[in-house]
Symmetry: C2
Subunit: 268 residues, 2 copies
Amino acid sequence: MAGDGTIGKACDVLDQVAAFARPVRFAELLESSNFPKATLYRFLQTLTNQGMLSYDLDRQTYTPGLRLVRLAHAAWTQSSLAPIARPFLDALSRETGETVHLAQLDSNQVLYVDKRNAAQPIEMYSQAGKVGPAYCTGVGKAMMAFLDEAALNRAVSQQSYHRFTDKTLTSEAALRADLDLIRNRGYAVDDEEHEPGIICIACPILTSGGRMLGAISVTGSTERMNFDQLETWVPRVRRVAEQIGAEAQAWRFPETRPSADTDRMQAT
Amino acid sequence: MAGDGTIGKACDVLDQVAAFARPVRFAELLESSNFPKATLYRFLQTLTNQGMLSYDLDRQTYTPGLRLVRLAHAAWTQSSLAPIARPFLDALSRETGETVHLAQLDSNQVLYVDKRNAAQPIEMYSQAGKVGPAYCTGVGKAMMAFLDEAALNRAVSQQSYHRFTDKTLTSEAALRADLDLIRNRGYAVDDEEHEPGIICIACPILTSGGRMLGAISVTGSTERMNFDQLETWVPRVRRVAEQIGAEAQAWRFPETRPSADTDRMQAT
DNA sequence: AACACAGTTTCATTATTTGGAACTGAAAAA
DNA sequence: TTTTTCAGTTCCAAATAATGAAACTGTGTT
């Protein structure tokens, strides 16, 4: 994955800082990277200077910078399916009363780009941007199943196959078998493969040409329901996925995108 | 602002793509940048390759990439005041029933990092990441007023002073005068300077050492209230700002940050 | 068939990055 | 106090990567 000259290296550094998920010291980064001291130092300086990292002078620590938040807003608005999918997610969430996720694939990981939570309806951004494993989540498998062969091979080979529960698929072969099944029936299932007690169904979002754009899922808990009940929703979820796919295809390009930023700022 | 070697240029390109706020063609970028064709081309390739941009093969357009969303999640969680401020914003929003903003300064612009909206309580991430002008918003002025002299000079000189309404402060002198006032009384006011009908009060968030971290505001509309009513909330807002400042100072560094990622994923 | 034009590739030149090593300053150990 | 240690910082010749003018490609147009 690495290695586009200077820019690639700089991105690696960003990822590394982000990966710590807490403020990091120079020394810690030095250890976990394989850049020489001076090189890493200069990268950190430059990135900080650019606002891609932020440096706490007192504690001498780095964290990802706010400029990323600004840029991500644009990314979320333009590159993600979230603005298009929003009304559909709202509807689906209302109808099912369950947690609904919208995800896309990033570096063969699941990137959650939007969410509706049954219980606690706030909590949005804390989820958008979160990543998860692809091989043991409904959305992850739904997406992988509809990649073209080359991309699928890459994706499948890059999974970690960590055993989260005793139902987790822990081999490439098992995953491939499940993906074939998913491709045939058109939806994926997560039967407590990632977290005990959590089950879900997921449908891929595809263009009419068959290109995979993302996936949506409805999640439930085994305490409140079983699979048969959850699968009741499959036709509805599939239909929503189709609608999102169709809109995504149509939407792109009224030359100036109408108003992805939906609500008036009213800020101050 | 520009010019840290290759990395700086790459960041410029990212900003440029983001600035279009819609998918952009190569030619459009070429026109608005001053990079030579081949140079710009290679930057776009590399950034796309890294997931910092995404490229629509069909339409031949670039948009900011999803990797930014992933990185921003980390930035928001770690570098912003949002996780610390969350409960305070919730409370303030409940008590006042008005729109509440949390902002920080990024490139001398206001970056909204969190929000509670009176009317429509969802809508979070669409706001987090949005930027606004500093010289004509409550939070912007509250923050600028408490910058140290060097930073303040830079900030003041970089404002655009565009006249949004006939109450907008449109000169450096007028702004500086207002900032002095704000510094003395400890809070800022936006009297329809950005949008007609929208008024707000804002308090800076400071460390005990006086370093400015951000600001919070309560916004109202002239239809429903006047300034006297709104200013009733000043002591409360100031207190919340102080609490957030104190927590921010304390929080940073239980060596492994307890759990910035608050809620269980339950994803799939 | 000829043209126009957006997008892509090439390659010798130029400028930047690189990283070993030496330096600094503050804090811990003697 | 003096010495040691070590994280963080600076330096500079060598190595590498970025540069950009110009040539090319291929798609869609006159």
